[in-house]
C-alpha cells in the first residue's frame, strides 16, 4: 500500500547549525503534508504544514519544501537549538479529509 517513509532514522547536528530532515512519500494523490515534533513522553506537536499546490512554506525558524516531481518533503530548521532535540514525523493526507498517514520518524539530536 501507499506509505510515508523517512530516509534517516537519526540525525545529529551541532547547536547553531541548520538541520534538514527528509521524508519520501509514495502516494502521488496526496494533497497535504504536515510535520510534527514529538518530545520524549509527550504527544506530537504541530510544526508546519504545506498543501500540494505550494513548493515552500516558511514558519518561525522552520521551512518545509515540497518536491512533487520526486515525491520528497523536507523540514529545515535554522540555527538548531538544544530544545529542538526530538523525533520529527511527516504525515500525508490523501483521499478523504479525515485521515493522515504518518511516517516512522527521525530522531534529531542536538550536540553542544
Amino acid at each position: 500500500g501507499e506509505s510515508v517513509g523517512l530516509h534517516l532514522p537519526t540525525l545529529s547536528v551541532q547547536e547553531g547549525d541548520n538541520s534538514i530532515i527528509n521524508c519520501a512519500y509514495s502516494n502521488s494523490a496526496s494533497d497535504y503534508f504536515i510535520w510534527y515534533k514529538q518530545e520524549s513522553g509527550k504527544g506530537p506537536q504541530f510544526i508546519i504544514d504545506i498543501r500540494s499546490n505550494m513548493d515552500k512554506r516558511q514558519g518561525q525558524r522552520v521551512t518545509v519544501l515540497l518536491n512533487k516531481t520526486v515525491k520528497h518533503l523536507s523540514l529545515q530548521i535554522a540555527a538548531t537549538q538544544p530544545g529542538d532535540s526530538a523525533v520529527y514525523f511527516c504525515a500525508e493526507k490523501s483521499g478523504t479529509a479525515s485521515k493522515l498517514t504518518f511516517g516512522t520518524g527521525t530522531r534529531l539530536q542536538v550536540t553542544l
Binding site: 504541530f46 493526507k93 479525515s98 493522515l100 504518518f102 516512522t104 520518524g105
Partner: protein, 113 residues
C-alpha cells in the same frame, strides 16, 4: 482551554482484562482520532470520528471499540487485553474547516502482561 486531555497517563493490565481510555477535547472539534504508537515507530490510526454519533475504522481496529455520544468525548475501549496491545495511545482532534492539523493529547502508556 485545556486542548485534548487523556486519562489515565499510565496503566498496567493483565491479559484478558478490559479498560476504557478516556479522551476529551474542549475546542469544539468535529473530528477525533485514536492512534497507537509502538516503540520506535510512527502512529497508526485505530478509529476515528467525524462527528457525534459517527465512527469509523482506521488501519488497526481489531481488539478495540469506540463510541462518540458527544462532541467532546471519544473513549477507546479495549476488550480482552492482549500483550500485542502494549503501546502508547494518543487521542487527537481537529476542527471542521480550515487547517487540517490534528491536535494531540499527552498519551496513555498501556502495558499488558
Amino acid at each position: 482551554n485545556a486542548g485534548v486531555t487523556q486519562t489515565p497517563k499510565f496503566r498496567i493490565l493483565k491479559i484478558g482484562q478490559s479498560m476504557t481510555l478516556q479522551c476529551t477535547q474542549d475546542m469544539n472539534h468535529n473530528y477525533m482520532y485514536w492512534y497507537r504508537q509502538d516503540p520506535g515507530m510512527g502512529l497508526k490510526l485505530i478509529y476515528y470520528s467525524v462527528g457525534a454519533g459517527i465512527t469509523d475504522k482506521g488501519e488497526v481496529p481489531n481488539g478495540y471499540n469506540v463510541s462518540r455520544s458527544t462532541t467532546e468525548d471519544f473513549p477507546l475501549r479495549l476488550e480482552l487485553a492482549a500483550p500485542s496491545q502494549t503501546s502508547v495511545y494518543f487521542c487527537a482532534s481537529r476542527g471542521l474547516a480550515g487547517a487540517l492539523e490534528q491536535y494531540f493529547g499527552p498519551g496513555t502508556r498501556l502495558t499488558v502482561t
